[in-house]
């Protein structure tokens, strides 16, 4: 009887001493499981949606970058040498033919550039 009382006391002392650590271990496991669950939700069920957004993101970035370069070319129309150099450095323009506005401006700039080149040379 005395032995069992002592073992119960020892067990309860152990729980009091290590209870917070056990609770912390359980909390860590729960938080990490929550992070993994959220990662799964974003990457697997919602993966297609975010891949489409990423594709649009890149297209938009290239497109806006191109517009900025075209604007720069447009601003330097009076300087023939700069216009030629800038226009010749736009190989990506042909890969975005779906945007009619950009395509029209691209063709106009390239048209001017190629027309100017023989004269420069």
């Amino acid at each position: 009887m005395g032995e069992s009382n002592r073992s119960v006391k020892r067990w309860s002392r152990g729980v009091c001493e290590h209870g917070p650590v056990l609770a912390a271990q359980a909390l860590v496991v729960c938080l990490l499981a929550l992070l993994i669950g959220r990662l799964w939700y974003l990457q697997v069920p919602m993966g297609e949606y975010y891949r489409a957004l990423a594709g649009a993101n890149r297209g938009e970035a290239v497109s806006s970058d191109l517009e900025q370069r075209l604007d720069a070319v447009g601003q330097q129309d009076s300087d023939g040498a700069v216009l030629t150099a800038a226009a010749a450095g736009q190989p990506a323009t042909a890969s975005y033919p779906h945007d009619e506005t950009i395509l029209a401006r691209t063709s106009s700039v390239f048209g001017d550039g190629t027309a100017a080149r023989p004269a420069d040379e």
Partner: protein, 407 residues
Amino acid sequence: MIRKARMSLRFAQAMRLPAPLPHVSQVAARMLPRHLDGVLLGAAVTLSMVGALLVWSATLPPTGHAGPTVYAWRHLGHLLLALPLCLALASLTRRALRAYTPVLFVAVTVALLLVLGPLGETVNGSRSWIALGDLRVQPAETAKIALILAVAAVLGRPRPRTPRPPASDVLISLGVAAVPIGLILLQPDLGSALVLTAIYLALLACSGAPLRWPLALLGCGAFTGLAVWQLGLLKDYQVARFTAFLDPHADPLGAGYNVNQALIAVGSGGLSGSGLFHGGQTSGKFVPEQHTDFVFSVAAEELGFAGGCAVIVLLGVVLLRILRVASRCDEVHGRLVCIGVAAWFCVQVFVNIGMTLGLTPVTGLPLPFVSYGGSAAVANFAALGLVMAVHAHNEERRSLEPAGTRG
């Protein structure tokens, strides 16, 4: 001749001349701790190496591969600097840990005061760096170690009669914690202040102090937070971060930009990822600070669910190993040191990955061992060294116990 040699030997013994100098390897072996937690150290070093690859990918120039970037080399340099410090701290005795605590606390307090002076440098709206030429140091990282050691020294003081710290010790520990937290709030670095507060609450809750203390402090904190929000004392960018967290789509090009771009990067990774150095979002530099605070977005996009999970599991191994050392410790001070370090890493892991996944507001907290940053890397490995010092003490005690009495 023999008489002469005997005389010189007697002379050497009488003068107590030192023994021949030991070899360098012997000195190194003496400095290394006897008991290292290989799993804990291995997981941390692996995370750091993975971090170097992610930092390399995140900082690649748009023109393509040109070998490891200067950031990746520096990340490895931080590891080489931090590892010897970690091993040196792991060989400290309990007495030495206690003896150095006041020195470290005063040094950190002075550094936090210097940050607010002319030496301080403001980055992202927070004056939290000391600039010494090209070198920039963030004392808030070292303040976490100083707070853990100082509060553990007060709350873990040996008490033969009762294991519970009396109210006076709780109040002293509160005063000790208020110094670095207050100075960091003045910078203002809300993220680090929240981590320090969480560390203190965890230490208080696990010290054996009555539960009313941490609960009362939590209540006071919630009330203060509400008052600060209502009185409009937060800076504009801090309010914007909270509103962007509540509705990230409200301002996708402004306050919600970071969260939206991080979610796109993570979500587009899929199960297997786009491959290291081949992430479209990463190479396009759509996510700001992707080599520091948002480094997990690079892991999730390029390594996919498998890689992201591996990083989380490795961080989990680090956290659970630290708590294992705490559970095996027979004295309160060592246990509190481990719990403080675990609370620090746990809060930073959850808040950092949580903000990348849209679970928590954006704060400037790095991912332990993975994010780029010298101050954070050195502080993380130093904290690991403290845990391994406690582990070495546990193992030495266990080795002295008879085999039948081990738990």
